[in-house]
């Protein structure tokens, strides 16, 4: 289909053809023609955010919770520069989003025109790809190609910069199927490598699945196949922060999250395994710790769609480039055809060892006294919301790690967190994006008070669109994660890590027209949480918690996985028996 229309109309038409139903955005001079078109149609809903960073994080939340593309629309200059943090966040976490930016007219580019910024230049290193469209005839094709690039292979953010004259001019609309892209990453894995992995699976005595965000990127089929593989082999499975939900937290083989703040049993298993099967994780430094000491005696396999993820940090023995769903399907086929063998005896001994590690109960805590422990708050939140159709977003800090430890995820796409960039201010707008996609679900942003203040303006968006997002703030009146590092590593010199002059969150909620709840007594907590859940509208929940609680377990950097610091309550007496080694 080719048709003549204005560039602005093409933008809307292309988005509709791509199946986009929501755009998060903020208008300005350089995108007014597009806003004018949005005004005159009913296919796409535009959500007016309060800050462009919010638009991009909302698009990320929408994307991660649906598996679809998220879209944001912002103006030139400051609109575009405000989008940079969100783009970088999406790049590091492999989230497919499309950001459309307005630009000054082509004939003014380079003249330091009003609200001109070199948007493609600024965003080149923080997008998967970006385009400046100088001709209206190229616009529709470019948007279609951008949507393809964002979602194909390893997903990521893309940006299309559209000068105002290109929006006004009339050109020819190119339909979605107009041209085949040369960008088509390999999805099938090499069958020889897959067979090598199967052989390794058959022999392994101490195998471990180390899974990550790539499973969620790959989609529902990948999750299903992974679960089938785990059930069939009875191998233990751990996951990164980004992969939570790809295997159910209630599943028998689940060891919990691994890494710097991961569970003792998960990290010990990583250290001592003889076969590590990395499925869609990228050996991030929060996982490996010091690389020389990382899982020293294991054979390592790595399934990843991005060849640059393989051998980047850790050398692997069996590299498999491909999409997880495709590779797991072949893997299962080969494994079954060879007789479904595993070293059951070895694996059963391995489980004995793992269960010993499990028995130290590294997340154990005791709630005593009149002050709420953050771990207690999250345990209660988990207990009271588990049966709901629930989505969790987080901010960044201790609360984020506690959420990862104490909340259980049964399914993928239920957990939205800023892992790679660690962007404070991500959670509130992300919760809005999630709620836009899942109108009737319970959407909770687990926040720290400091992070929450970074994008709190988005409460206005929640009110305007009647999005009943729950802002569950663990208020320790500290930049808790920073304070923890200062306590442990900088001689308890708390340089600028106090959250001073905090607002009254209840009044703040009321000022927005939302509901405010404050809770400081453990005895009141359940009722307060229920009040939050049942309230039909946005809530700011100010949960006053223990101020100097530390987040454990923790692997200090420079240490190996078997060198963790455990919480005071962990049953360390038991742990020493394990093959593990010195506990600090």
């Amino acid at each position: 289909m080719t048709k003549a229309m204005t560039g602005a109309k093409m933008v809307v038409q292309a988005l509709v053809d791509q199946g986009v139903d929501v755009v998060f955005g903020y208008p300005g001079g350089a995108v007014l023609p597009i806003y004018d078109e949005i005004f005159q149609q009913n296919h796409i809903q535009h959500v007016l955010v309060r800050h462009e960073q919010g638009a991009v994080h909302a698009a990320e939340g929408y994307a991660r919770s649906t598996g679809k593309l998220g879209v944001a629309l912002v103006t030139s200059g400051p609109g575009a520069t405000n989008a940079v943090t969100g783009l970088t966040d999406a790049l590091l976490d492999s989230i497919p989003i499309l950001v459309l930016t307005g630009q000054v007219p082509t004939f003014m580019i380079g003249s330091d025109a009003f609200q001109e910024a070199d948007t493609v230049g600024i965003t080149r290193p923080c997008t998967k790809h970006n385009w400046l469209v100088k001709d209206t005839d190229d616009l529709a094709r470019t948007i279609h190609e951008a949507c393809h690039v964002a979602t194909a292979g390893r997903p990521g953010p893309v940006l299309v910069d559209i000068p105002k004259d290109v929006q006004f001019a009339t050109g020819t609309y190119t339909a979605k199927t107009g041209r085949r892209s040369h960008y088509n990453p390999q999805v099938k894995g090499d069958i020889n490598a897959i067979t090598d992995l199967v052989k390794a699976l058959e022999k392994a005595k101490r195998p471990l699945f180390y899974t990550g965000g790539g499973v969620i990127n790959s989609g529902d089929a990948a999750t299903q196949l992974l679960r089938e593989l785990v059930a069939a082999t009875n191998f233990p499975i751990t996951s990164t922060l980004m992969g939570l939900g790809c295997y159910p937290a209630s599943g028998d083989n689940w060891l919990g999250m691994l890494g710097m703040h991961g569970l003792y049993e998960a990290n010990m298993a990583m250290h001592d395994c003889d076969l590590m099967i990395n499925i869609g994780a990228r050996f991030d430094d929060r996982i490996t710790g010091v690389v020389e000491k990382f899982s020293p005696n294991s054979k390592k396999a790595h399934i990843d769609i991005d060849p640059s993820s393989i051998n980047k940090v850790i050398h692997v023995d069996i590299p498999i480039v491909g999409d997880i769903a495709h590779v797991l399907e072949d893997l299962l086929k080969v494994w079954k055809s060879r007789g479904r063998k595993t070293n059951a005896e070895g694996v059963s001994k391995w489980w004995d060892q793992i269960n010993e590690w499990r028995s130290i109960d590294c997340l154990k805590f005791t709630q005593t006294g009149k002050v709420i422990k953050p771990q207690y708050a999250l345990s209660r939140l988990e207990a009271l919301t588990k049966k709901y159709d629930r989505y969790i977003t987080t901010e960044v800090g201790q609360h984020q790690m506690w959420a990862a430890q104490y909340l259980g995820f049964e399914d993928p796409n239920r957990w939205m967190t800023s892992g790679g960039l660690g962007t404070m201010g991500y959670g509130t707008p992300a919760s809005i994006g999630v709620q836009m996609a899942h109108r009737d679900s319970l959407v909770i942003n687990v926040a720290g008070e400091a992070s929450w203040l970074m994008n709190m303006q988005e409460m206005g968006t929640a009110m305007q669109y009647k999005l009943p997002v729950k802002q569950f703030i663990l208020n320790n009146e500290r930049l808790g994660m920073v304070r923890q590092w200062q306590e442990l590593l900088h001689g308890e010199r708390y340089s600028s890590s106090w959250s001073e002059s905090l607002p009254d969150f209840v009044k703040l909620a009321e000022a927005f027209g939302a509901k405010g709840i404050i809770c400081s007594d453990p005895a009141d907590l359940d009722d307060a949480i229920m009040e939050m859940i049942t309230y039909d509208g946005p809530v700011i929940f100010d949960c006053l918690v223990e101020k100097h609680e530390n987040c454990f377990p923790m692997i200090p950097s420079g240490k190996a996985h078997n060198d963790m610091i455990l919480g005071e309550n962990a049953d360390t007496a038991n742990a020493i028996q394990g093959a593990g080694g010195a506990l600090v």
């Binding site: 080149r124 430094d285 991005d306 442990l488 950097s557």
Partner: protein, 186 residues
């Protein structure tokens, strides 16, 4: 919780592992990168090297297939084998990059560079310069009574050697194109 007993400045003071990982031999590789000829592609390639801390020893770029909108970038880089592998994988991720070939490992290849040398001198030095240029099969592309411009084509080593010889004979300016390289055979 008491503070950990960690010495000031120790690696464990940081959220990162501060010790550099591998100590390995550094190799020099010539990469041929076929890219879509669209605006900003070169910036992407160079930005990748700058942003990730890779070396560029030589870089040449020009459109080589006008019809197919393709340009060829030839980069000479150096790094440990692991870094070279990463560079190739990272280049491969750039959307307008069609192909990356490592000419250093993918069988025999030929490399050529073109250089122009301005040599100013009189008397014996001038005669000596012409004599050496002849041995190097350099062309004289400009001459005045007091200077020559020589054009030399060859491997980078040959051009380095020529530069060494010209230096005492009044070398005033050099310009080099950077390396162009192709694999041998079909």
């Amino acid at each position: 919780m008491s503070a950990l007993n960690i010495k000031k400045g120790a690696t464990s003071h940081s959220a990162y592992n501060l010790k550099s990982g591998y100590v390995d031999t550094v190799e020099r590789h010539t990469l041929a990168i076929l890219v879509e000829n669209e605006p900003g592609t070169l910036a992407r390639v160079i930005g990748l090297f700058a942003g990730r801390g890779y070396n560029i020893e030589s870089l040449t770029v020009a459109e080589t297939d006008h019809h197919g909108h393709l340009s060829r970038i030839t980069i000479v880089t150096s790094g440990t084998p692991q870094v070279i592998e990463q560079i190739k994988a990272q280049l491969g991720r750039i959307v307008p990059v069609h192909r990356v070939n490592d000419l250093t490992v993918e069988g025999p290849s030929v490399e050529r560079e073109l250089a122009l040398f301005k040599v100013a001198g009189k008397g014996d030095a001038r005669i000596e310069a012409v004599r050496l240029a002849d041995i190097f099969r350099a062309n004289v592309v400009d001459s005045t009574l007091e200077s020559f411009v020589f054009e030399v084509v060859g491997t980078s080593e040959k051009i380095d050697a020529f530069a060494e010889l010209m230096r005492p004979l009044g070398l005033t300016e050099v310009v080099r194109t950077g390396i162009a390289a192709l694999s041998r055979g079909t």
